[in-house]
């Protein structure tokens, strides 16, 4: 995983509550056996007509979304299915942070493993951000994970919380599987103590 660095970008607002991962990437695209090529399928049914032409009203089809790396989402973003295809599609489109008042648990974990920052802000700050970005579509924000601050060009500066371990993993690009593999001794010791078990090979 690449280390997560400070960046600035325009903000794409999608202020809808409870956006589920079936919207982020519909299930029919999950027949793939690869992680790649999912950017086209991001928000597919909100983004395209039945014949595949882009819906001009949808925010991701507007010029302001081009090159943008911050999504300003509604409450409880990423609920529903555990599909990691959701953060894969978001990052392949170019997003590096999603801002919301809260995230569904599995989506949050999946995002952290793919260098996508789930950035939690209080409801008042969320409302101010939304107002600012609706007033100025070109408004830029800077995400600084090191200092846990989101600074908006309009002068707004928001401190955001993040789990200490998750922060370290993002900043240093630590691969969590690698971290657990290093615990081999503890895992083996635990297995020695395990008295009972199923055996699916029996």
């Amino acid at each position: 995983m690449k280390p997560f660095t400070k960046f600035s970008s325009r903000i794409v607002p999608l202020p809808i509550a409870n956006v589920d991962t079936d919207q982020i990437i519909p299930a029919r695209f999950l027949k793939t056996t690869s992680k790649e090529g999912l950017d086209q399928q991001l928000f597919y049914d909100w983004r395209y007509e039945a014949d595949g032409t882009p819906k001009p009203d949808f925010i991701l089809n507007q010029p302001r979304a081009r090159g943008a790396a911050i999504l300003l989402a509604g409450d409880n973003f990423g609920c529903g299915s555990s599909r990691e295809h959701a953060p894969w599609a978001l990052t392949q489109f170019g997003f590096r942070a999603v801002i919301s008042t809260s995230f569904a648990d599995i989506f949050k974990q999946n995002s952290l493993k793919n260098s996508l920052l789930p950035l939690v802000v209080p409801a008042e700050a969320h409302a101010m951000l939304l107002q600012a970005v609706e007033g100025d579509p070109d408004l830029e924000a800077t995400v600084d994970l090191e200092s846990q601050t989101l600074s908006v060009a309009s002068g707004l500066r928001i401190q955001f919380p993040i789990d200490r371990f998750a922060k370290m993993c993002l900043l240093e690009g630590v691969d969590q599987l690698g971290y657990v593999l290093k615990q081999e001794e503890a895992i083996a010791a635990f297995e020695q103590k395990r008295s009972v078990s199923i055996n699916t090979l029996a």
Partner: protein, 466 residues
């Protein structure tokens, strides 16, 4: 200090807890399916890793698998490749797999319990958000993403922070026509789809105690729809009776020892929870959803709520958007609304008791000619049992389609899907936009409500047919 069952199971599986880091939790059972595993196996290959404990791992094909005649070829080449990839991956890594032609194939959350793989006090994971189903046995069962599938394949461990504990106490007696599905839909309607975020539910109370194992699975299954990480029910004699004699359940002296261990699991007197809610089962009615998330539910004799009644602007807009998608008018009842499809199946409601309940309503009746009715058993074992009881004949004579086991129209990956604009009363777990097919409109309900609706062709309160 008194502990909840959630804390007991957690504590018994901590491999390591370090200051500032999530716990490393040992996993007793890892269930695998074709959709969320290919990239995980590919990850192992890239790193040169093996599956650490194939003996604690079990795979099956359920999401992409067609539910028509299994002797026919799979026409969707992408689905076929994914299904073949699962079998190839399992062969390469030594993981037991019930694939396309497996005699024990079925929906992963149906076969785990019926094979006796799921047992009290276990930690269970699967790359699937409905893994909480296994919580019905007093197991701590988490849905995980593909990176975590790879981690568990490689290390048999999960990195996880402790969740909050949330007691869901349901007391009283369910009235005729009211089912386990209505309990969970009522809970989610009360707390919302984010109400359980960061929590593990423990379902308890006299109404939960009186549920069968299959009914408890229905309740636990939809914990994720309330936002919870997991949901469980402490084991009791109902649990042990269900488990005894199942293929992977312990036998003889091992059974006695297991029983002694399992009896220690229930929450201690005086243990406290971070959150609690109480539901009176006596007052519950059959539930149905009207919107585009499972929290948008109401009693079947109610009316569709108006966005104007919501004070929070985001919530108001969400509800308005949902009603536009669903083509429903505020203030109108749902009962009497014509539907084009009825789907009876999914990891929520495809077990033998669900099929028996639907068959009891459909026996000797005909489904409305304007409705397509799909009945999809959860597993080969459920299918065989249903056949032994003559249920397929009842379904076919009524005018239903009787299918092969799989997730089918719950997730609409396998060709079973709604057409744009169609309404379906479904026994599945999600009514998200497009979930059952692009433009399809899902009304979630119990197998009883689904069967009643199949007969009349309009949303029907089953209590009028009892």
């Amino acid at each position: 200090m008194p502990k909840t069952i959630i804390e007991k199971v957690w504590d018994a599986h901590v491999v390591r807890e370090q200051e500032g880091a999530p716990s490393i939790l040992y996993i007793d059972l890892h269930l695998v399916h074709e959709v969320t595993s290919p990239q995980a196996f590919q990850g192992l290959r890239k790193r040169g890793l093996r599956v650490r404990r194939p003996d604690l791992t079990f795979a099956t094909a359920d999401h992409s698998i067609p539910t028509h005649d299994r002797s026919l070829p799979i026409v969707d080449p992408i689905a076929r490749k994914q299904l073949e990839q699962l079998e190839a991956n399992c062969r390469e890594f030594g993981v037991p797999c019930e694939g396309i032609h497996g005699k024990r194939q079925g929906i992963v959350h149906v076969i785990g319990p019926e094979l006796g793989l799921t047992q009290p006090g276990m930690t269970v994971v699967c790359g699937d958000s409905h893994t909480a189903t296994h919580g019905a046995f007093g197991a701590l069962a988490f849905g995980i993403g593909t990176s975590e599938v790879e981690m568990v394949l490689a290390t048999q461990c999960l990195l996880q922070r402790r969740s909050q504990t949330y007691q869901v106490q349901v007391d009283g007696v369910l009235k005729p026509g009211v089912t386990a599905k209505d309990i969970i839909l009522a809970l989610i309607a009360r707390i919302g789809v984010g109400g359980g975020t960061g929590c593990v539910f423990e379902y308890c109370g006299s109404a939960i105690r009186s549920l069968s194992m299959e009914e408890r699975m229905t309740v636990c299954n939809m914990s994720i729809e309330g936002g919870a990480r997991a949901g469980l029910v402490a084991p009791d004699d109902t649990t042990y009776q269900y488990l005894a004699g199942r293929p992977y359940a312990p036998r003889g002296a091992a059974w006695d020892a297991a029983l002694a261990r399992w009896r220690q699991l229930p929450t201690d007197e005086g243990a406290t929870y971070d959150k609690r809610i109480h539901i009176d089962a006596n007052t519950l009615t059959p539930m149905i959803t009207f919107g585009t998330n499972p929290g948008m539910g109401m009693p079947i004799d109610g009316v569709v709520p108006s966005p104007e009644t919501r004070s929070d602007p985001q919530e108001r807009e969400s509800l308005a958007k949902a009603l536009r998608y669903m083509g429903l008018e505020p203030g109108k009842p749902l009962a009497g609304k014509p539907v084009q499809v009825v789907f009876i199946g999914s990891c929520t409601n495809s077990r033998i008791s669900d099929l028996r309940a639907a068959a009891a309503i459909l026996r000797g009746r005909k489904v409305s000619p304007s409705v397509r009715v799909l009945v999809v058993p959860g597993s080969q074992a459920v299918k065989q049992q249903a056949e032994a009881e003559g249920l397929p004949r009842i379904f076919r004579e009524a005018g239903c389609e009787w299918r092969e086991p799989g997730c089918s129209m719950c997730i609409a990956m396998n060709g079973d899907q709604l057409q744009p604009g169609e309404y379906s009363v479904s026994t599945s777990n999600r009514n998200f936009e497009g979930r059952q097919g692009k433009g399809g409109r899902t009304l979630l309900a119990s197998p009883l409500t689904a069967a009643a609706t199949a007969i009349t062709g309009v949303v029907t309160d089953v209590r009028t047919l009892l």
